[in-house]
């Protein structure tokens, strides 16, 4: 066993090594750079046999695939829920991801919300994001059990529009994803309630392009040649 220390590359995920240094710098008076926050409105809704999701993150899709190979069964929504929950809880709220998770599996349609600290709720309709209050008000007023697919789409679009128009952090267009048993339909730009009103007829030309000053290509891996060695088989 080697006695020397080996430089092990980090396994991936977040590295908090510089936190102390940053704290010290802030105390000394350095202004911390601000980060880009995307305000958003996401909603989910169960109608009859399925559910809608207007914005989703696929952080665990690779883990779910491995799980499917291992168990030989289709993934369930609660599997994804537990994976996300564990991941977020282990970061103690520092991963600011608030999610609405939904799907249809062998047990039926499910809708869950997952908060940054790792807590989850199971609900028939849910909203998250900066526009969640606006969207929730629409749901609370208009949701009822036994909605049809079209009624559900309409209600979800209305809730997202409420977020778009009433929340400064949300804007532009509405994307909807309808998931039913064995079938998902992604309605990108289902509604575009904020079209570009004034478009210049002359078109737009961008004269100042980025200049390429120098090109240097560094191969990361040297070419490896494999030569067959013919010889005798090893003997015990």
């Amino acid at each position: 066993m080697s006695q020397s220390t080996v430089d092990v590359p980090p396994k991936g995920g977040f590295s908090f090594d510089l936190c102390k240094r940053n704290d010290m710098l802030i105390q000394k008076g350095l202004k911390a750079p601000s980060f880009l926050k995307t305000g958003t409105t996401i909603v989910g809704l169960i109608f009859k046999l399925s559910w809608f999701l207007s914005h989703c993150s696929d952080m665990v899709s690779s883990q779910l695939r491995l799980h499917r190979y291992q168990t030989g069964r289709d993934s369930r929504v609660i599997t994804a829920l537990t994976l996300l929950k564990k991941h977020l809880f282990s970061y103690q709220g520092h991963v600011s991801a608030a999610l609405v998770l939904g799907g249809v599996d062998i047990t039926g349609p499910h809708l869950h919300t997952i908060y940054p600290h790792g807590s989850t709720d199971t609900l028939p309709f849910a909203t998250m994001g900066s526009g969640s209050l606006a969207a929730m008000s629409v749901f609370e007023a208009k949701y009822k059990e036994g909605l049809t697919r079209d009624e559900g789409i309409k209600l979800v679009a209305e809730a997202i529009c409420s977020g778009i128009f009433n929340d400064l952090g949300s804007g532009s267009n509405v994307d909807i994803c309808v998931i039913t048993k064995g079938n998902k339909e992604y309605l990108r730009n289902y509604m575009e309630p904020n079209p570009r009103t004034y478009v210049s007829s002359k078109g737009y030309s961008f004269t100042k392009k980025t200049e390429v000053l120098r090109t240097k290509i560094t191969p990361l891996m040297e070419r490896v040649e494999i030569t067959e060695v013919t010889g005798e088989a090893m003997e015990e």
Partner: protein, 253 residues
């Protein structure tokens, strides 16, 4: 303009209650989960199953309490499989002694002590108060309170959560030994609704779980069907109903 603070950790400012009666236990809770000043879930279920005969009421940080109860459910499941039955006295006694250095055997106690281990060992990181309640064939119905810090206290009744502050005096007066199942459940529902009336962080519906030798019964009491207390108003569907309601009839002379 009130700052809603939607980035605050999900907390269950809560009212949770566990009460023993002659033959079992009744657990009760409200259903409000708040994120700062916003009610994130108005119909949450704070009474979680650990085994077929042991349930836990969760309060405090939603994430911490969910994770703790998930872990304990997993360990208890293994424990039950190892044993082939809800633990016998001898085996559970040894297990408890290993985990908690205690000599009294009990099965509900195993769950409580497992939770205590996790809560106490992670006390600096966890912020959750729990009430464990269940029924086993050796001790009957038992309630264990596990507040912040990880103490395990066996009690004939336990209250927890932010709404419990308003119930200490009520229980001192209303609690009695050997109640019937109906009396115990009515007491729990009354207590939770009293706490909901006074505590802003509790609300929604009242959920109860009754555990006895026959099994588990879950009940649900919607918020607008609860008894009204001092100065509480009748629930209204919409303020527009009040405005549109016809005025009183003119008096006939």
């Amino acid at each position: 303009m009130m700052d809603l603070n939607l980035d605050a950790p999900h907390s269950m400012g809560t009212t949770i209650i566990g009460v023993t009666y002659n033959g079992g236990v009744v657990l009760g809770a409200d259903s409000r989960t708040s994120t700062g000043m916003y009610v994130a879930n108005r119909a949450s279920d704070k009474i979680t199953q650990l085994t077929s005969n042991v349930y836990v009421c969760r309060s405090g940080s939603a994430a911490d309490s969910q994770v703790v109860s998930d872990y304990v459910r997993y360990f208890l499941h293994q424990h039950t499989i190892h044993l082939g039955q809800p633990a016998t006295v001898k085996v559970s006694a040894n297990l408890i002694r290993m985990l908690a250095y205690n000599n009294k055997p009990a099965t509900v106690k195993v769950s409580a002590n497992l939770i205590r281990m996790l809560a106490y060992n992670n006390k600096n990181m966890l912020q959750t108060g729990l009430i464990v309640g269940g029924w086993d064939k050796y001790e009957g119905g038992k309630i264990y309170g596990i507040p912040l810090g990880g103490t395990v206290v066996e009690q004939p009744f336990a209250i927890g959560g932010s709404g419990s502050s308003y119930l200490y005096g009520f229980f001192d007066q209303a609690w009695k030994e050997n109640m019937t199942k109906e009396e115990a459940e009515q007491l729990v529902v009354k207590a939770v609704s009293l706490a909901i009336a006074r505590d802003g962080a509790s609300g929604g519906v009242v959920r109860t779980v009754i555990i006895n030798s026959e099994g588990v019964t879950r009940n649900f009491y919607p918020g607008d069907k609860l008894q009204l207390w001092h100065e509480e108003l009748e629930p209204q569907n919409s303020l527009l109903d009040i405005l549109n309601a016809a005025g009183p009839e003119p008096m006939a002379i």
